[in-house]
């Protein structure tokens, strides 16, 4: 059995998925946000919710530079879970409901285990986590559109982006059937972006085209000084946009879209 076990582990190639988001290409259309909600079975928000109580596994922030009007410039920043390599959300969870998967580098959220204390939401510097304040409800007939690869969540648990794990599963199945070890897939946000501003890659594969992107001088990450080792990279050739990266919140104290 031991030999068989070794054999199996040898063929289980490891990945470290990360993404590069080109802020100069992003037009702020929000297609990624919609595609994400559809892919991950996020129910339509009930009328009573607000910014704080609704669920959007990814958001597109609109950020303006401080210059007065005619000179004022705008950038749109798609933000989701940064899939930190040293995730504070994992460290604080008393339920061990968060796990950095050593095989994929994806930070798994185990909604089945989560009991809703929301420590992780407080710990996450990127506001990437959302609490289910209500049970999900789909208008009659719309449940037909649910994605069978993703289980809907219930009231009382926290959820977040898991880099379209359902799509990863499908890619894994495909690779297993073909006898290949190459698991490549596109998350819904990357696939839906008309400007192709979002690209996924394997950060530990030296041959992956994402390596060239990461080494470009215009590539940066948000809040690296916190040391959570995020795996999402951003690009912009605009200096003021790059300087945003070390600010705690893009608009001073408020992260509302219209601020």
């Amino acid at each position: 059995m031991a030999a068989g076990a070794k054999e199996m582990n040898k063929t289980n190639r490891k990945y470290r998925y990360g993404m590069v988001i080109d802020l100069d290409a992003c037009t702020g259309c929000g297609a990624c946000v919609v595609a994400c909600a559809v892919e991950n079975n996020v129910a339509p928000a009930p009328a009573k919710v607000n910014d704080r109580t609704s669920i959007t596994l990814m958001r597109v922030f609109q950020v303006k530079d401080p210059a007065p009007m005619p000179a004022r410039k705008t950038v749109f920043v798609p933000m989701m879970c940064m899939q930190c390599d040293d995730p504070p959300c994992e460290h604080v969870c008393p339920q061990q409901a968060v796990e950095l998967d050593p095989r994929t580098g994806i930070v798994d959220q185990m909604v089945q285990r989560c009991f809703g204390c929301r420590y992780c939401m407080a710990a996450c510097p990127y506001h990437a986590r959302y609490f289910n304040w209500f049970d999900p409800e789909w208008p009659a007939g719309m449940e037909q559109t649910l994605n069978p690869a993703v289980a809907p969540r219930m009231r009382g648990v926290v959820e977040k982006c898991d880099l379209c794990h359902g799509r990863f599963h499908e890619a894994q199945d495909r690779a297993a059937l073909e006898g290949s070890d190459n698991i490549t897939y596109q998350p819904a946000c990357a696939e839906s972006c008309p400007a192709q501003a979002i690209r996924i890659g394997d950060l530990q594969n030296p041959e992956d085209p994402i390596q060239d992107q990461i080494r470009k001088p215009e590539t940066f990450q948000f809040l690296v000084k916190l040391g959570t080792k995020p795996k999402m990279f951003y690009q912009s050739r605009r200096g003021w946009v790059k300087r945003l990266a070390e600010r705690a919140s893009p608009n001073g104290n408020s992260n509302r879209r219209d601020a």
């Binding site: 059995m1 031991a2 068989g4 076990a5 070794k6 199996m8 582990n9 063929t11 289980n12 796990e99 998967d101 050593p102 095989r103 994929t104 994806i106 798994d108 185990m110 909604v111 089945q112 285990r113 690869a149 993703v150 289980a151 898991d162 794990h165 359902g166 599963h169 499908e170 894994q172 199945d173 495909r174 690779a175 297993a176 059937l177 073909e178 006898g179």
Partner: protein, 192 residues
């Protein structure tokens, strides 16, 4: 003294009642819409599991076959059984799907990849499904009245003592095999 006797006799009676009655109260039975003999297909028609339970091109597992799969051979009855007659008249001709009740259906938050287990790890179907392929008749489908899950998930034996090696499809059963083989899957390996 007397009251002690009544206490223990009462307790024993309750325990016995629970032991015998609980399994009956916990599970409900439902008959399959149609009987099916795996044996005739495997032995007489010399088919194997994948003749009907196969993968789709995209790597997903098709599971229980659809009616056109049956229709490929049973457009007209090939035998003389009443059951086959029912298949042709009630399902194949009107092209109606048979609402099979799936013994091994997992909860929706569970993902099981047949591709990885059957192709990559080369497990036999029997490892988890037992000798289902040799049965002559479909046993009634039993489900837990609280969770709605098929009885096969927990396994036939409520105490889980003396169970067959394939029996039980709970997370612990999966994990036992995974530990034995040193195959780590992580949480989202099997959940979604």
């Amino acid at each position: 003294m007397r009251s002690g006797f009544f206490f223990f006799a009462g307790a024993a009676l309750m325990l016995l009642g629970g032991w015998v009655g609980l399994p009956k109260a916990l599970y409900k039975q439902q008959a399959q819409p149609l009987d099916f003999t795996h044996k005739a297909h495997v032995v007489k028609a010399e088919m194997d599991c994948t003749s009907c339970h196969d993968f789709r091109q995209d790597g997903s597992f098709a599971g229980i076959p659809r009616i056109d799969n049956c229709a490929a051979c049973h457009a007209e009855p090939v035998g003389t059984t009443a059951n086959e007659k029912k298949l042709v008249e009630k399902y194949v001709t009107p092209e109606k799907e048979i609402g099979w009740l799936v013994y091994s259906r997992q909860p929706i938050n569970t993902r099981f990849s047949h591709a990885i287990h059957v192709r990559k790890a080369e497990l036999k179907c029997e490892r988890c499904h037992g000798e289902h392929g040799k049965t002559e008749t479909l046993r009634p489908f039993e489900y837990n009245v609280v969770s709605g899950y098929s009885r096969d998930i927990w396994g036939r034996s409520i105490s889980r003592l003396r169970r067959a090696s394939h029996e039980g499809m709970k997370m612990d059963d999966c994990m036992d095999c995974h530990k034995e083989k040193g195959a780590e899957a992580g949480c989202l390996g099997c959940h979604r």
